[in-house]
């Protein structure tokens, strides 16, 4: 890596993050030294800024560049798809561990190729509203764990009892809300690219025969994009909030995906990424399944 003088000092972080960081560095260094993995995917700090950024470490001497703090907002799981045939370790927040479990359930990656450094007792990410709703704060899948496992009671206490303002809206109000949101969309597709679910080789937005969605940034096409993407989220979204964090226009992108999560749970008692052996929602069929999605 380039050696340049760092202009800004890294902001001191809370104790709990420091501890987690130390543990991650220790495990990563060991894994690389012993050649258990070729690469560790984790969070680091930029050379010029104090912003958190994904880093890929292959030299054990650089393991101390790994950090974890309240700004580690990216979902790293998707990078695993770039290293399908390599042995890699990955630092995983509980939501990322759910994403990894879903990848395993969808048979996209090989369990023996990855080492998961799971974060237990995730303190949550700054400005990520998904964390306020998160009730899975320990890694669901891990080879090594860092942090301290949170008990049910501790998780319960962290949950913000917030009423869902969108569920409470009338259909007309809801339409108005989403119109106001989606008219700002520039279709930069950051939500799609940041999302671990969106790994299709060709997105429906990219084809032109047929052209499912128009190229221009217009309200109706923006709606088409967001609604169609949401339909692909059912039973796969882990409500990590990466889409919302990535959106440069501050759009409530997560609202639709979160609704799909709730529906999957209410209708089929299904939550994505709870364990790597679970069947995927849409590939599993039971004759007693509710058909409430069909109109009378």
């Amino acid at each position: 890596m380039v050696k340049v003088s760092v202009r800004k000092k890294v902001k001191p972080q809370l104790k709990k993050y420091e501890k987690i960081t130390e543990e991650i560095v220790e495990i990563a260094e060991k894994l690389l030294k012993e050649n258990t993995v070729e690469k560790v995917i984790g969070f680091g700090i930029g050379i010029f800024t104090e912003e958190v950024t994904p880093i890929f470490i292959s030299n054990p001497e650089n393991a101390d560049r790994l950090v974890f703090n309240s700004k580690a907002e990216m979902s790293l799981a998707k990078y695993l798809l770039n290293y399908k045939d390599q042995k890699v370790a990955i630092v995983a927040k509980p939501c990322d561990s759910r994403a990894i479990a879903t990848y395993l359930a969808e048979d996209l990656i090989k369990r023996e190729n990855i080492k998961v450094i799971g974060i237990n007792g995730c303190p949550g990410i700054e400005n990520n509203t998904a964390c306020e709703e998160c009730d899975i704060r320990n890694a669901v899948i891990s080879d090594y764990t860092v942090g301290k496992k949170m008990t049910e009671e501790e998780i319960e206490a962290k949950l913000k009892d917030k009423e869902d303002k969108i569920e409470k809206m009338t259909p007309a109000e809801r339409m108005e809300y989403f119109q106001k949101e989606f008219e700002r969309c520039t279709r930069c597709y950051a939500c799609r690219e940041a999302c671990y679910v969106c790994y299709c080789e060709q997105c429906f937005t990219e084809g032109n025969q047929p052209e499912w969605v128009g190229d221009s940034v217009k309200l109706n096409d923006n709606f088409t994009y967001h609604l169609m993407r949401a339909m692909h989220m059912a039973g796969r979204c882990v409500n990590c909030g990466a889409c919302e964090m990535a959106c440069p226009e501050g759009i409530d992108v997560r609202a639709l995906a979160a609704k799909m999560c709730r529906s999957a749970e209410e209708l089929f008692d299904y939550r994505a990424g709870i364990d790597s052996d679970q069947k995927t929602l849409l590939s599993d069929y039971d004759v007693n399944d509710t058909e409430s999605g069909f109109m009378e």
Binding site: D215, A246, E249
Partner: protein, 346 residues
Amino acid sequence: MMIKKIDKNQFKELFDKLKENYNIAAPVLIDKNKKTLVEYHYIDDFDKIDWDEQADSSPKNIIFPQNAPVGNDYKEKQYYDTEQDTLILGVRSCDIEAIKTLDQVFIEDEMYIDKNYKARRDKITLVGLSCPQRNKSCFCDTLGFNPVESNYAPLYIFKDGNEFWIKVKDKKFESVFENLPDGNQDKLEELIEKRINTFTESSFELDIPIPLPEKEMFEADIWEEMSEKCLGCGICTYYCPTCYCFNFIWEGKDGESTKYKNWDSCMFSTYSAHASGHNPRDSKEKRYRNRIMHKFSYHPLNYEGLGCVGCGRCIDRCPVNLDIREALKLTEKYLEEKGGAKSGKD
């Protein structure tokens, strides 16, 4: 050249008078539900202008909108946003230089003049703003631009607390400002000098040949490392003040269609996809290489200056905080190890 000095209230009066004859766009703070951002918008209230922060998106949005109907019948159909001329207030050096880049490509290139861009651009006057301080990610001074003053704007504002100095560089506008109190040129020079001194320490040191040597860089093995974390979204290009790639689309229904010129992004995998299925830039390192090379090699080869103005927006807005400065530093190191490469022009 005319120099005027007014206070905030006088500027407000001036603004109200100007808006009778001009549409005025300026950076304003916008509540966007999950984020609050500063953006260029058409406004009619002087108090809304945010003078102190660099806008999160560039004035490109006004000069070169994301979707714009085009065609040879542009004038007849009155596709202008407006019949009136537009003043864009508070444009900083980086964005002025960026608009110069767009002008080079769309108007000044002898090979082709984009009539639609020109029609809109002819109705727009830039009112520059001397940059008060460095933003957290910008590096225009490293690239050789002057944050305090840019010569490409016919009107330039130097804001000092509640006082505004207006430099009228284009005679055409003198009549608009002639009734305002005069400013002392020496005092303004003093202010400029003082401000330049606050920028003496460069944001970071960089020593690369411009244009970057095309062949050497094309074959360099650094691109994968640079772009490993890139997600492949279009944020860096959409919020870049100089990125101008576009796509033509016909849209309509019931037998009528309109041709649109829409933004495109070289960071999208479909950008370079051929109808045959072949894609010459089929991986993100190739796409990232193209983005850097366009700004630091291809643009300087074909036009004057750079394709990057160091505004830092691609750094600030990137969802994974990919930093173009790190890429440039890596380029510098690579060329240094290669034994000091010559620029692509030699």
